[in-house]
Amino acid sequence: MPGPTKHSSSNKRKEIAVELRKKLQEAYERGTSSEATRFLIAEFDQLRKAYNEQLKALRKQAGL
């Protein structure tokens, strides 16, 4: 699935936000705000992990 471009439409962003709203609410109901914060950081970390792997491969490719 192709990823977003720099000029992703605001509609797309809103879609992600709506989905996030649902998940954030669920996390909050599980354990209030700290759980919601953890959820957001975990989501971020997941993306970050995928990015880190790509960056590692890129560094290896460039010999850095």
Binding site: L24, S33, T37, Y51, G63, L64
Partner: protein, 708 residues
Amino acid sequence: MFTLQSITGEGFRGFPRKFNFDLDVPVVLAVGPNGTGKSSLVCAIEWCLFGADVETESHTGIPERKSWESRNRSASQCLVEMELSGNGETLVVHRSAPRSGKPDFWFRVGSSPPVHEGGKLKALLGGLEIEDFFTAIHLHQESLRGLLLAEPRDRKQDFYRLLGLASLLNQTKAIADAKLESLLEGVDEEFEKFEAALQGKVQGRQADIQRARQECVSEGLTEPELSRDGLSKVWKVLGGEVRQFCTAYSIKDCHFPDELPEKNPIQVAKQQLQKLRASCPVLEDRGQVLARINTLEGLRESYRNAETELGEAKAEIKKLPPDERDSSKLKQEIEKLGEDLEKQKKKRSEVSAKAAVLGEALEYFEEMGMKGRAKCPVCEQEVSSVEGLRQHYEKEIEQGIIPQLDKRIKDLQAKLRKAKEAKEKIEKLQEDVGRKDQLLSAQRSKIAKVLDRELSPKDDPVALLSGELKQLNSKKEKLENQVEKAEESLAGIDKQIERIAKVLELIRYQDDLASLSATRNTEVYRRTEQARLEIEEFVRAVETLSRSLTCTLEEEAEKRLGAVRDTIAQTFERLTGRSDFPRLTVSPDTKFAAQVEGSAGVADALSVLNQADTNCAALSIFLALAVAPSTDHKLGFLILDDPNQSLDEAHTQRLVEILSKISESRQLLMSTIDEALCDELQQRATKKKAIYRFNKWDAQKGPSIERA
């Protein structure tokens, strides 16, 4: 909505011992002087629900909550267990913290198993955070004043909580706490670092290419040769040179690749060069000649040294006096001297014995007074008298024979010692000569072996060696020209290999630069950038969500505040009874700053109200909002801590009226030092009441409590 049923425990703050309060009535009053433990009852509820968070100012907003201790210092453990009731179910919350050991927390709904996660209790109570509790449930004096005096941002949050919008507020707080923007900055910085490193490497490679090209040119390589095709031609030239060398020196085993190998061409070429050097007959001959010269020169040197050392050892013997050069003669002399010495010692011994007898006899004769002739028993010489014998004894024996014998013995001993020393020395020198002679013989044997001939005693090994060395040096000189020519050819091949290596280095740098420059067009780069954009997209979506939540929060706050605006105004009017500014208003438009309205116009509440009316304003807002139907949390009780502080009797009576009304919809737990307020509420409130009177407090026993 959950209401309080009971609270039990021990070792909590002002309660060193066990305590138990039945709270299953709509109005619970804790009354008594300051310092009797009323607040400990209220704090026990907070601690049971939120644990150690109630011990900090950051969570409670109460400045005195610094280094706050929940456990009573004389108690071994701190334990609070609370029972609540709501929606037909019983909720039991338990928390304990022993002096040493692990704290424990659990809650249980009905007969279900205990749950140990505090977050789940908060969720069960409608997302109740500690901040919500201290804003909407527990009317602490600090939070009461905060409604009017806090910074606009904090005040806004207090109002949102009072308006039952804690869930939305806490979710916006959760988003802010995640600090995703700063995490995104970290990602961007990391990518920028990568870009900078890539750029640095590109520049480094460009400089390498420039340097390598310059070196190639200075090695005489032409521009067309500085490419893969050109390099193949250079390689072929090198192959030709190698083959030519092999032909010139009749080297049969020559396998130089025709085409430039893909892997390690320089290593292949260097190995070939090494092979040529090892197989070249001229170089091999020269090597053998040099090795032979080396061996012979070494032997000649060693032989000369051995010869010199032997000569020196012999010269040492010659330095000795002639009578000390013969060890056998010295041996005979030692034997003779030994015999003489023994004889003299024996004689000396006999003389000593006889002299001793004579000495004693003389003493005897002299004591007896004997006179007349006598004969010396030592030398048998006749003496005319004993006196004469005495004189004879002293002169001839004591001063004559004995000293002479002693001197002779001493002389013999000296001679003997000298002879022994001389013998030892000559033997040592002879041994040294023998050893060096053996060494010389060994050198001769070696030379004979190397020269492959027998050596007679008349042969001079040095001369023989020198003769062969002369021949070898002559051979070496004859070889030199050929060697020089071969070395020149090999150096030419080596130089050609070095030139190929330089071109290869240049090509490697060019390939590397091409690869680095193409990095941004690779799939890996595209995926990395995509992954980075996905992170950014996520953070932007969270920002959008946060803005949307804030918008909803503000709209909902406006709506809910609108619904209770009149209640706030009426409560304020009833509490204060002011005619100039009877109406209190609060609006998001003024960032929730309280304003008063009246015949004199509109004014900021804080600028015109006295302290009592300021408290009334805060109480009006709190009480109107706390009992509003639209709340997120599920706690159906309010805790009021000295609510009539700074209020006079008239204000207090009006407050009682309002509290009586509130007690119809919310359970009230009120602590106060004011007996009058307690009595008034007891009389006015129509709901069932429990009154706990706190009297004297004792450090060992805790408070003395009576239930009225």
